[in-house]
């Protein structure tokens, strides 16, 4: 969906720059970062709908970054984009909770389609969560403070 907030994580600066332009052209808000650490920092401070994550990166690699993201317990969905093309690693990523994977090089339309899918999933989860919370508030109005008082949209 246009207006979605995308965190683009890849160690290739040219790639993140280009991809940011392309995705921005297509109506997304893109924050490009070039390492796993930066990605985690961004996620801690800002809300994102979808993280597009490269697997093979120097320093904190994609799998570790994904694990860290999962620790943050966010609604954000993670889409794996890898040049590695290794099904085993991609499968591992999916096991760890990634939404899906794409192999580089891929067409922008393919990526956009996957981002949309991820956003929908995130949106569904968010809606469901909201529903649950409303239900809880209806049942116990006092809990509204604790449920909606969070700065970030955590689960």
């Amino acid at each position: 969906m246009k207006g979605s907030r995308i965190l683009l994580v890849d160690d290739e600066v040219v790639f993140t720059t280009n991809m940011s332009k392309l995705l921005t052209n297509r109506g997304y808000f893109v924050t490009p970062v070039n390492s796993g650490d930066s990605a985690i920092r961004e996620l801690e401070e800002n809300d994102f709908d979808v993280v597009v994550l490269d697997l093979k990166m120097p320093g904190m690699d994609g799998i570790t970054t994904l694990k860290e993201i999962k620790k943050l317990d966010l609604f954000t969905e993670t889409l794996i984009l890898t040049g590695h093309g290794s099904i085993d690693t991609a499968m591992e990523a999916i096991k760890l909770g990634a939404y899906d994977y794409l192999t580089k090089p891929c067409e922008i339309d393919e990526l956009v389609a996957k981002i949309e899918g991820a956003w929908e999933k995130k949106d569904d989860a968010l809606k469901e969560d909201m529903q649950e919370k409303i239900q809880k508030v209806v049942e116990s109005p006092k809990s509204a403070f604790s449920l909606f008082g969070k700065k970030k949209s955590k689960k």
Binding site: E12, N18, P105
Partner: protein, 594 residues
Amino acid sequence: MEKNEAIHSSAHERHVDELQERRKHYYSRFFRRFAFLIITFFLIPLLLMGWGINIYYTKFARDRMTSSFHAQVDNHRKIIELFLRQRSSKLQLIANTHSKDYLSKVSNLARVFEMINLEDSSITDLGVIDGHGRHLAYIGPYDLMDKNYSNAFWFKEVMEKGLYVSDMFMGFRKVPHFIMAVTRTEKGERWILRATIDTEVFRSLVENVRIGKTGEVYLLNRKGVFQTSPRFRGKIMEKVPFPVESVHEGTRIRVLEGDTDDKERSISRRIVAQTWLTEPRWMLVVTQDYSEAFSDVNHANRATLAFLFLSALAILIVTVIITKYMIEVIKRRDVEADQLNKQLMQAGKLASVGELSAGVAHEINNPLAIILTERQILLDLMGQTPDLDKDFNDALLESLSQVDVQVQRCKRITHNLLRFSRRTTSVIETVNLNEFIEEVIELMEREAKTSGIKFMPDLEEGLPPLLTDPSQLQQVFLNMINNAIDAHEGSSYGSIHISTRSDDHTQGVQVVFADTGSGISEKDLEKIFDPFFTTKAVGKGTGLGLSICYSIMKRLGGDISVQSEPGKGTIFNLFLPYSPPPDLKESIDEVLEV
């Protein structure tokens, strides 16, 4: 490139030749060493045993032979002494039981003579002689009544000792004979009873003894004169040509070495046993050729030698057979090891190339992704710039489209590389192989037809269904058919035979792809499954097709091999197991769990 390849290939052949040559040396060295060791370890104990047995047996046999010789000599001596003692006892008895006066009467003496010779006629004559050597009476074949023996050598002896047995002598009779005389003292006067012993009877006692073919028995007196005729050399009353040993007690046995006698006749090596009689002092000699006496020993020695020789020969033959057999086994093992090494090398090569490919693919994918994004940016920019020159716009679009085509091409290559490095997953399904092949044929039919190639399937009916990965199998089969079609390039027609045969013994199916194409040279056959090896034109083949097929077949638990004759065609033999190997199943189960 080709030159490099040729140099590499000839270096490889040289290496193989050197290896073969080294192996040959190794085999022959091994043969010599092993044969030497076996022969040494078997022959030495055998020879030692043979030698030991021989020494022991020879000593044993020689001792027995010697003691038997000893016994024979003793027996003969006893017989001779008994004979003589009997005669002397008889004379003694007659002298002691009859008076001189009685015996001096010829008629009485004749009667006594008759009585003595009643049992055996061993006494030729009998005489009674007074103390002065005169004959008082005589009975015998000669006329000796007038003889006076007072000066005869025996007369003095008998008068001194009371009993006398003479040596053989010719005497008045001119025939060899010996006498025996006893004395008796009667009324203070000594008289003599003297008898001549029949030498024929006596000599037959000694001379008729037969010991083998070469044995002889004879008697010698102290002066070395024959008292009986020996069987071979010499005659009675002749002197022996060698000195006679002095009188000794007991029996002596010795071996006389071969020699020649005074008449230049050769005397072979002999064993001689000798013993002295007590009265008279004659030496009894028993002799036999050494070779005959010890013929048993010699025979046994020869038998032992023959046995040793045969045993050694048997060991030699067995050694040669065993060693040859072992070398054959080693050769077979070496060939198997070579094949295994080759497979290992191929696997190692594939593995290392696989690793490399995965790395390369990844590194290429990243710039490719950037190229694609750049292209997309340009496209976006073009979309945002409506007043672009149309020709420029078209040319740019075409270039960008070409960029896309080439990027996709690169992507295919990297995808293949990654596939080759097995970084793709498998999905195991039940596959009806015949139907599957027919589908693949259908897929390729059009392309084959345009090249004038006919498919000739020969599929076994009732083939058991396989548990395998159809997508990977399809890739293999497509590759086989593609290669077969490409092999017909330049010819207007051809055929591809595809056959399936189940084999319950190996629990799998043999699939054969045989084409009538150009074939593959022997040199290329070795490298056919190597990654990046291709004989196709640049840009037409990546050289990965058969490597991928090889990897897939191995991964599916099968096998692939190739035979080819340049100009006639190529046959690919594929083996597919009824069910995939357990490790593949496990990896799939893991993926399916996701």
